[in-house]
Symmetry: C2
Subunit: 325 residues, 2 copies
Amino acid sequence: MHRSTAARALNPTTSGLLTRETVARVVEAAQRLQYTPNTIARGLRTNRSSTIGVLIPDLTNPLFPPILRGVEEAIMPLGYTALIVNTDNDPERETANFHALLARQVDGLIVATARQHDPMLDEATRRGVAVVLVNRGTGSRQFPLVAGDDREGVRDAVAHLVGLGHRCIAHLAGPSGVSTATVRASAFREAVAEHGLAPEAAPVVGSHGYTEQGGADSMRQVLDRHPGTTAVLAGNDLIALGALRALQARELRCPQDVSVVGFNDMRFADALSPALTTVRVPHRLLGFEAARLLLERIGTPGAPAKTLLLPCELVVRKSTAPPAA
Amino acid sequence: MHRSTAARALNPTTSGLLTRETVARVVEAAQRLQYTPNTIARGLRTNRSSTIGVLIPDLTNPLFPPILRGVEEAIMPLGYTALIVNTDNDPERETANFHALLARQVDGLIVATARQHDPMLDEATRRGVAVVLVNRGTGSRQFPLVAGDDREGVRDAVAHLVGLGHRCIAHLAGPSGVSTATVRASAFREAVAEHGLAPEAAPVVGSHGYTEQGGADSMRQVLDRHPGTTAVLAGNDLIALGALRALQARELRCPQDVSVVGFNDMRFADALSPALTTVRVPHRLLGFEAARLLLERIGTPGAPAKTLLLPCELVVRKSTAPPAA
DNA sequence: ATGAAAGCGCTAACAC
DNA sequence: GTGTTAGCGCTTTCAT
C-alpha cells in the first residue's frame, strides 16, 4: 500500500478510482490511527490554504460577531476556516495583520474595515487575492460589496421622525473616510430635503468614531450649537448610546425632550434605556452572502464585482416620540 | 546569490552571519518584489505554524471579544496569529472546529469552551498540542487555567446583598457541566451559609445556558416557587438581563421589588435599565495572561500546569437596593 | 487499480 | 560568509 493510494482513498473526488475494499481499509486505518491530513502540507502542494482572512474593525461592536457567524456558516461546510483579525480601527495594526494573512496564503479576504481610499485593497488586487467587502464600501466599484441598504434605512428613519412631528432633526454622522458614514449622511440630507426641511434645521455633525465617546461628543455639540433640535438620527447604535448618555448628563429626557434613532439594531439595542428605535440590518445574512460571494470569486476570479444591498427595516421602540408641544 | 542566503538575510536571528552589504541587497530586493515569506512552507519545514487556535463558545457574548483582544495583544508581537472559532456551545461544531485547527497544525490552543468532562481536551493531550484554559476550567488540574476569582466575586456579591438587608436570595446558576456555573453555585451556598441564611432561603436554580432566555426562564421559576425572594445573584450578565426582562414582564420592579446582581461586568452592563450591579472580571487580562501561559508552555512543554485566578471587583450600580419594608 | 517519482517554498545541517 | 543538499507531508502526473 502506497501513500498516494491512501491519499486517494481519503479524498472523496479520487476515492472512486479505488477498490471499495481498499478504500474501506484505508478509512479504517485512518480512524484507528487518528490520522488528520496536514492542511499545511496540502496547501503547499495545491496552492490553496482553505483559509480565508476576515478583517474586522472592532470586535467589541456587537454588529460584527453576527457577521462572523454568517461567514462561518457559509464557509465551514466547504472545509474553509476563517482567520479573523481585529484591527481596532488602527491602520498600523491593519497593515500588519493584512500581511500576516497574506503570508499565511489565505485564499481570499472578507474586509469589514474598508476605508474610502484604501491602499491595502490596492495591494490585495496587485497580489491577486480575492476580496469581498462587507458593510463598508470603498470609493471604487472594483470590489464586490455586501451591505445594508443604508439609503433606504435612513429614509425610513427620517420619515418616522417627520411623521412624529419633528421639524429640527440633527444627524450624528460616523467618522470621515468610512463609506457608511458618507452614504448615511448624504441620504440624510436628501431625505430631510424631500420633507421640506431647511438645511439649517437639519445639521450634520461628524463623530470621531463609531463609538459611544464619539456619539456623546457630537450630541453635546448639537445641544450647544443647535438648541432647537428635537430629534437626532445617529450614524449607528453605539453613537446613539453615547447620545443617550450625553442627554442624561444634561438632564434631558429621551424621548420627551429629544428623540434618538440608531442604526444597525445591534444586540442590546432593545435593552437600553430607553429601548432604542433603530434601523435593523440583517447582520448574519451580510456575512453569509459576503462569504458566498468570496467563494464564488475564488472559483472564478474574473467575474464582475457585484454589489449586494440587503433590505433594512425600521424598528420603532421607546426612544422616539412626538416633540414636546 | 543563493536562496538560503536570502532566507538567512531575512531572518533576524541568522542575518548576523552575513555581510552587512548582502543583507541590505536582499532586503532591498525583497521590498522591491514585495516578497512575503510563505508561512505555510516555513511551517511545513519547521513544524511550527506560528498560529494558535482559540475556541470561543459564543462570540456574541460580550465577555469574549475583550478576551480575544488580550490574546492578540500577547501574541502579535511574537509573530503569532490566532485562528478563532466559534462553537456556539454546540459539541458537534466544537469537534469539527477542533479538528480543523489540528489539521492546520496550530502550535497551541486557548480553550474558552471547556466542559467539566471534556473528551476533546483528552485528545489534545494525546496529540501533544499545548492547551491553556481560559475562564472555564475542567474537572482535572491537568491544564493551565486563567480565570476570574469567582469565589471571591460571589462572596462579595452575597455580602453586598445581605448588607442591604436581603434575607431571601436566589442564585440563577449557569448551565450544568460548565465549571463557572458549578464554582459560582458552590461559592454561593458557602457564602449564604456564612451569613446564616437557611438553604430554603437561598435556592439555586440552574439555567439552560448563559443566555437571556436561560435567565428569563430561571427567574420565572424562582418567582413561582420561591415567592419570598427579594434578590437574585445571576450566574452571568446575560442571565441577569434575562431576569430583568422576566421581572418586567411580570410588572415587578428592579430594584424596588427584586434586586439583581450580574457577573462579568460585560460591556453594556452599565447601559441596561436599571444599570446592572455586577462583579467585574478583568476580561482583557484573562486573555492576555492565558496567551502568555500558552506561549510559555509551547516553549517548555513539560512545565507544571499553573492556575491563575485574577481578582474580581463588585461594581455597585442601580439594580440593587434594600428590600421593600 | 495501484505504484513511483517529482516538487510545492522553505530551512537546517553541513560543506567549503 | 555563502553555497549545497535534503526533506517537511502532501498531491499529482505518469507509468504500469
